[in-house]
């Protein structure tokens, strides 16, 4: 089996740029006569091993194997653009993560300061309107992409054996993403987000028996109170993103392990000899 070569040699520096003490020692006398014994070859490979950063890391982690296993997979015939919706969702999530971290540098989750800090980000911080816009609209994009991805998996029958667990993980990710959208909606703390949160928590409270207590947990009390905003912020910032990242890891591991499915319109082609025998 041919090994896939990673770029293992860095470009050599111009002559004279490297001091003599750092230059590689000249080759052994027996090298260069064309014929090498096995022993020479082992010694030669040994001196060459681990000469670049990539080699150094790979020798200590074997990451290249995992990388090959993840990236150089066989894909079925008929793979098309619909198969990119999952990656698109992943990039939407990365966009949310990166812009969210930078928004957190300006945001202040206190009931009296939250609106003002968002106003500062939008109107005064350099590129603040752009970064906030990426986060705000990116959340809608992410939800839409999730549903498109889910529809692709459903209509292509890609949720069937042995991929049921990955469907379950995907649905969990959908629920977590909706929770992110719900908790993030409150953070600008304007009239729209305040009343939307009141309505959302009350919808949640209509679940029989545990609904009222769940609402109390979300609001940190019987009414929208002093710590509701920081509670939503903590759920939005720390609790759920970690869970989403971990589940995305499991989701991708199963994709790499189980492979992708062929589109349903592709017929299975049996070997010609077998086809004769089937008659």
């Amino acid at each position: 089996m041919p090994r896939i070569k990673l770029p293992s040699k860095l470009p050599s520096p111009p002559p004279g740029a490297v001091p003599k003490s750092l230059q590689p020692s000249p080759g052994r006398p027996q090298e260069g006569n064309g014929k090498k014994s096995l022993k020479d070859k082992v010694i030669h490979d040994g001196t060459e091993a681990g000469t670049t950063v990539v080699d150094w890391v790979d020798e200590r982690t074997s990451l290249s194997g995992a990388l090959r296993w993840t990236l150089f997979r066989k894909v079925p015939k008929g793979t098309n653009w619909f198969y990119t919706l999952g990656s698109a969702t992943l990039f939407a999530f990365l966009n949310q993560a990166v812009t969210g971290v930078f928004l957190a540098m300006y945001y202040d989750p206190s009931p009296t300061r939250a609106y003002e800090s968002i106003r500062f980000v939008t109107n005064e911080a350099f590129l603040g309107e752009f970064v906030r816009g990426m986060h705000k609209w990116g959340s809608s994009v992410m939800v839409i992409l999730i549903f498109l991805h889910m529809a692709r998996v459903f209509f292509f029958g890609a949720y069937k054996y042995p991929r049921e667990l990955n469907w379950v993980i995907g649905v969990t990710l959908l629920i977590l993403t909706m929770t992110m959208a719900f908790t993030g909606y409150l953070l600008p703390f304007d009239q729209r987000s305040y009343w939307a949160t009141i309505v959302g928590v009350n919808i949640n409270g209509t679940g029989a028996f545990i609904g009222p207590y769940l609402s109390d947990f979300l609001r940190a009390g019987p009414d929208f109170g002093a710590t509701t905003l920081s509670r939503f912020y903590a759920i939005h910032m720390m609790l759920i993103p970690g869970a989403i990242a971990a589940l995305i890891g499991a989701h991708l591991y199963l994709v790499a392990k189980l492979g992708t499915t062929a589109p349903p319109w592709l017929k299975v082609e049996s070997e010609p000899e077998l086809r004769e025998q089937e008659v």
Partner: protein, 223 residues
Amino acid sequence: MPDKRENIKSRYAEDREIPGAYEGETVTRRRFMVGTTHLAGAGAALAFTLPALAFALGPVFERQPATWEDVGPITAFNPNSYVPVNFTQTPGIGDVGRTTAYVRRFNPSIDGGQEPRDQYEAYIAISTRCAHLGCPVRYVAAAQRFICPCHGGVYDNLGKVNGGPPVRPLDRFYTRVRAGHLQIGPRFSVNSELNRFAPRDPGEPLDGIGQYLYPARFSTPKP
């Protein structure tokens, strides 16, 4: 499968020829060490998860103190029309903690009965939180109705449901008079016969089995 039965090992460590086994020993040293390690790990994990969980769940079980808010002299209120008052329901969070109630004096011809049921009913204070999903209702004097802008909930003069999606009448507040001033206290919910219940969130019916499906919470203040 008779041969499989024969493969079951004795539960005594001695019979399994484990070196250094005591007579009658069933838990081997290895099993004991594995169990101890797991127990210690579980104990360490619980030592930080349980307090953190209780910390997050605490507000569910913590009863809020009743606050009585002064809303002005009683001469401002009459038995025939509602006067809106704005007061702080949740202290410490600025304007967000304020809410509005419609207040009038007890009126036998509207409320029924000759006199108020108890000391909290001399003045009727009706909450503006719609019993559907919590939007703010407003009183339309010409129609003598409370009307919700969100999903078309309509309530009559007493706050009972006339139409639309609300599942129970508008909530009310306990009221009391101190030194000629009206004070508004904790909120309570009512069913369609205006019987008092501990305050529920909007969307939770109180008629029939509703009061059991949506039990009273531990966190709501009592007068």
